[in-house]
Amino acid sequence: MSGREILFENVSKFYGEVLGVNRVHLAIPPGITSLVGPNGSGKTTLMNLMTGLLRPTQGRIDILGVAPNEPERLFRLVGYCTQFDSFPRGMTGYQFIYSYLRLHGKSHAEADEQTWRAIDRVKLTDAAARKIAGYSKGMRQRIKLAQAICHDPRVLVLDEPLNGLDPLVRAETIALFRSLAEGGSHVIISSHILHEVDAISDQVILLSSGYVVAEGQIHGVRTEVEDHPMQILIRCNRPSTLASRIFELDTVVEARVHNDGKGLLVRTRDPDRFYLLLNRLVVDGVDLESVAPADDDVNSVYEYLIGPDGGSI
């Protein structure tokens, strides 16, 4: 056991006869990992299994060398911002974090100091003394986030953490995740907002109907989707010439010239060879303005592997 990774070995979870997740094998390295999939695909189940709120029907889970059924060790390493929008009755934001830290066994002084630090990080200082029941959706989301980070965990599990946050706080929160990941932490996020997932993730795990459909870095996952040749968008001065030349490669399946006559959309099964050919063509006098993959992102991967009707994304 390396103690550096989060491991799922042949993990399945059934709710009676209903499938939660099935035969999941994962090794999640440090960095930001996004769980992507439609509603009911098993994202929350996977997170709850990781944090011991659910027990696997079969298989084994290991969080940096700790089993999820040892909460006394696990939650020294892990912070979990759940999707449950319910709180112990009558608590203020401050009490919510402070009491949680006292449950860790911390002294009053330590708990108080760490509570204010966490509340400051999520910009809720002014509302700390107010009852959570009176908080807006975004504030409740932030106080949950504060609870997840208040004890400086090495693994942060975040179920839809950006829900309800306004754009400014959203950007700050993403920056916070980024800084934690750069510090060597595991940040595991489930999100429906694919362009944000694309922007912040080091790797993605795509889930559908309880199965892991794909995992890894987005580019790597995209490359493996062989049923859908990669689309590359080229802006250049002579798209027709370029179109006639690129069919030298048998892996190019389509080339479509833009209506404005200044660009070309190419579909190829082997983008690496295509880029090599492009280098030669530039030498031959085709003046390239820009070259960019058109579907090398989570959105496209999601659509190809799960389908546009996969869920409420």
């Binding site: 709850n48 709120l53 027990r55 059924n69 696990l74 112990p88 449950l103 860790h104 066994g105």
Partner: protein, 279 residues
């Protein structure tokens, strides 16, 4: 088990108590528990007030017997019983229904420590409420007795021992019934029917064979009450017939039942999952 663990567990149990006791005492849905606990006191204080108003002399022996009857047949069997239902069933199940139990399960607290903390909080809450009820009821008896007679009863006639026995029995009832309902809260999604069965089992205790009698809380509690209610009148069938158990055995037996229930609850809490959707 190292001393560091004990220190940590003590700190964690204290943190749980701080949260739970406040919640238990201030819960709006627990108002009826206070009403149950206060009912005998209200009755006795009304009786005392009427006696004082009409300058009637209190018959301490008769009032003690009335209290003993009320204590055994109402207070222990119904008030403390249902009070414990209200408090202990909700320790875990109530939070499951409110979808707030995960707050505890996301902390680095051993599940057994959480169980111990919550149980202790329940025992403290119910003991304070019901022991206060017992004490207030006894005070109502003594308040309309001439001072000299009251002092004589308390310090010369074994009355103080009775007061301590009643309050101690109340606290033990909270521990006994509390542990039973704690484990039932885990075992049943809808505990109403099982609670009714326990009520029936406790009520049927006088008719059970000697061995089965011992598998109930009321059997041990009846052995601890200082005044035995004569088996006569309409409720004679409720009196526990047979040899009372010596106090030390009764306390041990009751604590043994509580320990068995806590052990069963400990097994359940280790397996507890957060699956609010199915609750």
């Amino acid at each position: 088990m190292n001393p560091e663990s004990w220190g940590l567990w003590r700190a964690q149990v204290t943190a749980i108590l701080r949260l739970e006791i406040k919640k238990n005492f201030l819960a709006k849905r627990g108002l009826w528990v206070y009403l149950l606990a206060a009912a005998p006191a209200v009755l006795m204080w009304s009786h005392a007030a009427l006696n004082l108003r009409h300058q009637r002399v209190c018959d301490l022996g008769k009032d003690s017997l009335i209290f003993a009857t009320m204590f055994q047949f109402f207070y222990l069997r119904l008030a403390v019983f249902f009070g414990c239902v209200g408090v202990f069933l909700n320790l875990f199940r109530g939070e499951m229904l409110e979808k707030s139990l995960h707050y505890y399960l996301l902390a680095p607290v051993r599940r057994e420590v959480l169980l111990a903390g919550k149980f202790l909080a329940g025992v403290i809450t119910t003991s304070v409420i019901f022991c206060t009820g017992t004490a207030l009821t006894l005070a109502a008896i003594l308040v309309h007795v001439p001072r000299q007679a009251a002092e004589q009863y308390l310090f010369g006639g074994g009355g103080l021992g009775h007061v301590i026995a009643y309050i101690g029995t109340t606290a033990l009832a909270c521990i006994g019934y509390g542990s039973v309902f704690l484990v039932m809260g885990f075992a049943f999604k809808n505990p109403i029917v099982p609670v009714a069965l326990v009520l029936f089992w406790e009520g049927a205790n006088p008719f059970l064979p000697a061995l089965l009698k011992k598998l109930s809380v009321i059997f041990y509690l009846h052995s601890l009450v200082p005044i035995t209610v004569p088996a006569q009148g309409d409720f004679a069938f409720l009196a526990i017939l047979g040899q009372p158990t010596p106090a030390y055995l009764a306390v041990s037996g009751l604590l043994l039942i509580a320990l068995v229930c806590l052990w069963l609850a400990g097994r359940q809490v280790r397996k507890l999952e957060i699956n609010y959707g199915t609750e």
